[in-house]
């Protein structure tokens, strides 16, 4: 009876919110968890429950899975438009119930914040848990990837089938002895190396004998295929593999447990190649026919990416969002900007908005990021705005950027005035997700104006 009352209370709260023009799952979910802390486990679940977690890609993989399964004619419960914290998950499950508590969905696709594993997994007990990857995230919140792996492992049920990234030895370590595991990977790519570099490499020694690992291929951070020349340890073999990625043709090969299929490439960013093979692996495990798995990638697409470029005259304005306080995310953004050909200038506004005036940002995370990408000779000027502009400027200088090329300005938006745009092949506008509206958009508009384009 307590469960039913909780369901009603949460549904009524959601209804009241909708009547007042507000949406969202967090508040009703919080009410539900307050009334019944075990509500995630107490409600009836759809016949199949798939949870998706990881540092990057969990939203994309969840959304793609939900779309693909809906196209299979299944009724899918998902938190696509809700929160991935415990409250959001609770409300997603409640939303999928009738007022009498019967499930209306065939399958649940639950995106799960990895830090919330202990609040979600014991009740959810998913049939399948996908972990896309575990790389460094917020120092304050996530500490380090091995900690997150421990958090998830300590909460996952032995009955859960784990679908894991074989190219990430930390994500691949999740679970206990009894968990069934399926691995996915992306085979060696043309740009891969065999020697790790960069500030944040979290797997360097053999988990068995502590000796240095060698790599069949190394991609970024600790992502790649490692082995130990000392004791013979090897990364797990992946049953599901992506290979022959052809960005120009928009295709790749999906090796589905030995059955090779040419498929549409949903996006040529390597992170999305991993996402695509992860989705294929889960769909195959859910017994979706392989022809339809391949066909699904013709229809589904990842959500809006964190970068956009627009051509104004002879200059490309590259707008790139990063995740504030997360060095690894910034490394990928810097790498992307540096890869644009020709003379470039950069506007860098990546202060953490929430700590501008009420705290003093711990900029230690900047030393987990590979600012070295910005030391390229082709990047002729970097204008840094914001409260922590001198910290950013010092970080750039330590990374090898000529201090003569670094300009600091107090006001973030005025960086768009200070940056050199004449004769540049590309001008990058780097900002964080949190200051996208208050800084990123005005900077973009001003850059467009200065280059003679029309503001949108």
């Amino acid at each position: 009876m307590r469960t039913l009352l909780t369901i009603w209370a949460a549904k009524l709260a959601a209804l009241a919110l909708r009547l007042t023009g507000r949406a969202g799952t967090h508040v009703p979910g919080r009410i539900a968890r307050r009334l019944h802390p075990g509500i995630i486990g107490a409600v009836r679940h759809p016949a199949r429950v798939v949870a998706v977690t990881g540092t990057n890609g969990k939203t994309t993989v969840s959304n793609l899975l939900a779309e693909a399964l809906e196209a299979e004619g299944l009724r899918v419960a998902s938190n696509r438009i809700g929160s991935n914290l415990a409250a959001g998950v609770a409300m997603t499950l409640i939303d999928a119930l009738t007022w009498t508590g019967r499930s209306r969905a065939d399958v649940a696709i639950i995106e799960m914040d990895e830090r919330s594993a202990r609040l979600i997994l014991p009740g959810l007990k998913p049939d399948v848990l996908v972990c896309t990857n575990l790389t460094r995230d917020s120092i304050k919140r996530n500490a380090h990837p091995a900690y997150i792996a421990w958090l998830v492992s300590s909460a996952v049920a032995p009955s859960t089938h784990l679908v894991l990234n074989a190219d990430d030895l930390i994500a691949a370590s999740i679970g206990g002895d009894d968990n069934h595991r399926t691995f996915f990977a992306v085979d060696r790519q043309p740009g891969d190396g065999t020697t790790p570099s960069g500030a944040a490499v979290d797997v360097a020694i053999c988990p068995v004998c502590d000796h240095p690992l060698s790599w069949d291929y190394w991609r970024f951070n600790h992502i790649g295929k490692a082995f130990c020349p000392n004791c013979g340890f090897r990364a797990p073999e992946a049953a599901y593999r992506a290979r022959e990625v052809d960005a120009a043709a928009g295709q790749l090969t999906l090796d589905l447990a030995g059955d090779e299929r040419r498929a549409h490439l949903i996006n040529d960013n390597i992170v999305n190649v991993y996402n695509e093979i992860a989705v294929a692996a889960v769909l195959d495990q859910l017994a979706v026919p392989r022809d339809r798995i391949v066909a699904a990638f013709e229809r589904i697409a990842p959500p809006t990416t964190r970068f956009a470029s627009e051509q104004v005259g002879r200059t490309t304005i590259v707008r790139q969002l990063t995740k504030g306080l997360v060095g690894v995310a910034c490394s990928r953004a810097f790498q992307y900007v540096a890869a644009f050909p020709g003379r470039k200038s950069v506007v860098l506004n990546i202060d953490e908005v929430s700590e501008r005036t009420s705290n003093v940002e711990n900029t230690a995370w900047t030393y987990d990021a590979d600012y070295d990408y910005l030391a390229s000779d082709e990047i002729e000027q970097i204008v840094v705005g914001g409260v922590r502009r001198y910290d950013q400027a010092l970080r750039l200088a330590i990374a090898g950027v000529d201090p003569e090329r670094i300009v600091t300005v107090v006001d973030e938006i005025s960086a768009a005035e200070a940056v050199e745009v004449d004769g540049m092949a590309a001008v990058a506008n780097l900002h964080s997700v949190h200051n996208a509206v208050i800084t990123g958009t005005p900077v973009q508009n001003r850059l467009r104006d200065r280059l003679g384009g029309s503001a949108s």
Binding site: R118, I139, K140, R141, A143, H144, A146, Y147, W150, S154, A199, A200, V201, A204, I205, D210, H211, P212, G327, T357, S358, N359, V360, N362, T363, A364, W365, T366, Y367, D368, V387, R388, Y390, D391, A393, L394, A397, I398, P403, I406
Partner: protein, 250 residues
Amino acid sequence: MSLTIEMLFPEIANLHGDNANIDYLAQCRPDARIVRTGLTDRPAFVDGPVDLLYLGPLTERGQLLAIQHLRPHVDRLVELIDGGTPALFTHNALEVLGTRIRNDEMGYDEAGLGVLELESTLSMLGRYSGKVMGVVPEAGTEHPLVGYKSQFSMVTASDSMPGFLTAERGIGRNTHTAVEGVRRGGLLGTSLIGPVLVNNPHFTRALLAKLDPQTEPTLAHESLALAAYDQRLADFRDERRWHPVETVRR
């Protein structure tokens, strides 16, 4: 003189950007020899002198590995530290030198190297993050040291054990003391990240002078380092930016 700086186990002791402490020192002293000792290597300090020994932040498993691989050399480590060889242990590297590391959630209670009479208790579901500001003798009262804590562990030790600093703001070794970190012989041990040497150029200048008294210390990118310090210090002195959890509970 040329400096020899030994980084212990950088392949596992590299969290929170703290190895930039040594990257920055290396830019201040481009002639310095940086020895990166891997976990299965024989440490350089065992067979000869080094001018600075450094160990940075580790994972929980990394702490135990560091203890395991340093234990055969603990007598030499004590000899060097007590003989005045400078050593910098940051974040939870300091805990490796203690008597005990207790982690109930992960299910272990392990002996440390026993160099210092201190114990660490980890709370894996209660990470502490906050700011710390306090005077260190190397930089004087005009230039207090500024740093950050972001850690699972709290350290307990006798108040008679000299601290790295006494927190004017923020907490010390744990939430009940303002005494932060440890000093013993040449050892500077602190839980603070930042990295400390990047964020505190006055302290770094003094450390460089201590490492090589015959050479005038020079800071890399000095104007930017000083500007960043001045701005951070001004922000640290802004009362509105401090929160109740950043206070010692008496």
